[in-house]
Symmetry: C2
Subunit: 306 residues, 2 copies
């Protein structure tokens, strides 16, 4: 138990901020956690479940005297929130964010951060398909990666302190530049989400197969896609609108490869298919060895239903 | 505990046959389980772990006096196995299979089934990403669906008996015709598998993002795809080669929809994206309510690594 920031302000009280609140309490990492959210209902739920020490009505109020401010709102509103809080930030404070896109967030937020305040963009690579103030839990970041994307010249001590917070919340920390971040995430997150959304939409649309069949028979593979396709729609709309180039590039590569496999199916080229399917096994093995997924069959899913 | 078939022959001793052996023993559903596999190593492992009561060297030997014969081999070799066992089948016996494709299996197998033997094609919609004789477990079929695809005129008593076996192994049973089966599975299984294989292959290929980054940061969504892309390559090659038309049709629909979403990203049409992402949430809810997946965050994955 060692306090890293005296007062932390969480702007937005969804899955990420909620999990940070739980993780900071688990480790005794903040003396006071102040939270706010745009929706009155979210603030009320947060109040009820005691998610923060104080829930306040506005972001401007939340950041007052805060040593760390975390922007955990959809990427599309980061700029507006930064504009609101800019004049109220304490000199020497650190502002970070949890947005899934970095170049666009930096462009939207940085102009509003006053001299003497450290802006260190961040992105914890952790989440679930659930959202809202009740969805957070202390273990979300355990053994996951958090990427920090500080501009050159950022105060090394401020970076080290934020890194310490993430590590104390259970995460590993890496640093990279914003463009590389956006490309890496396009591959490991944004393109997979769009593809999952697409496949689920196609299944929903298909008139000759009823929804009931799609649902009943989903254990044959389809259900794996539905989890990430159940993620928060506002968050994901903003991700795609703000990481256009990298996402479209990866989707272009994906389509090219998909066409090659479709052609192999059409022409009966079994060797091409077999070789491709053999190669992809190795990545799964690597992910399990890196402790980023479970080797238990079917993700170790709990037995479901009766 | 009530015996449904005196002697059951399992041809192929992978995940499905192995799980059937465990499930039949759990319920006391067969007096004797005889197994065989083409690979001497598989037969030896099966012998070592006592997967069956007897392990024999050939399919012809295995089916001798069997009341139920289960073909649990890749779709591409079903015909050859049927040809081998045809002359050795006991009159009145039932032959079924566990192939993921039905029209092609029926065309390959039916000609070799002699008069007086019941051929009832089947497909349990259950599996994991693991394969081989050690991968089976008794609970695999619990609360999953098994589809039976009998030809018109098949003996209703033989169908009822096979249905009883599947139900006693924990499954629900539906009947449908082969073409509809192949279309339903193209949506719920075959297209999703090909898409997952493709996405994993693309990530593996990308020069500017290292394999190590893809692996470390996979919890951002990508890792969900790697599970089904780690499935048995031989099995899946045969599935695609034997369900060409339906798979290509669904992939065509998928590509069309993906292009529409890419266009929405490029043109900044946030409403289109938001509406699409909202719609896909409902299917996930349906799957959970139908008991076909868990509502626990991240599939209830066990905490991984350290």
């Amino acid at each position: 138990m060692s306090v890293i920031y005296d007062r932390v302000a969480l702007i937005g009280l969804g899955l990420i901020a909620g999990s940070m609140a739980h993780a900071m309490r688990r480790g005794g990492l903040a003396k006071e956690i102040v939270g706010t959210a745009r929706s009155a209902q979210t603030r009320q739920v947060a109040q009820e479940i005691g998610l923060c020490d104080r829930v306040v009505e506005t972001a401007a109020e939340a950041v007052k005297d805060a040593d760390l401010v975390v922007l955990a709102v959809p990427v599309g509103v980061m700029g507006a929130v930064a504009e609101e809080i800019g004049p109220h930030l304490k000199p020497g404070a650190t502002v970070t964010d949890a947005g899934s896109v970095k170049r666009a967030v930096i462009e939207a937020v940085a102009p509003h951060i006053p001299e003497g305040v450290h802006f260190i963009p961040g992105h914890p690579l952790a989440g679930t398909e659930h959202s809202g103030p009740r969805s957070g839990f202390a273990e979300l970041f355990d053994n996951r990666w958090c990427l920090l994307v500080p501009a050159e010249g950022t105060d090394p001590q401020a970076i080290a302190r934020l890194r310490r917070l993430w590590e104390a919340m259970g995460a590993h920390v890496d640093e990279m530049d914003p463009d590389h971040h956006d490309l890496v995430l396009a591959v490991t997150s944004h393109a997979p989400h769009l593809i999952a959304y697409t496949m689920v939409g196609v299944a929903d649309d298909l008139r000759r197969v009823t929804d009931s069949e799609v649902i009943k028979y989903s254990a044959a593979g389809f259900r794996d896609f539905t989890r990430i396709a159940a993620s928060d729609p506002t968050m994901w709309r903003d991700v795609f609108l703000n990481n256009k180039d990298a996402t479209l590039e990866i989707l272009g590569r994906f389509t090219e490869e998909l066409f090659a496999l479709q052609r192999a199916i059409r022409t009966g080229d079994g060797d091409h298919l077999f070789d491709y399917f053999t190669r992809t096994r190795a990545i799964r093995r690597g992910i399990i060895e890196a402790g980023q997924d479970t080797d238990a069959p079917n993700f170790g899913r709990a037995k479901t239903g009766s």
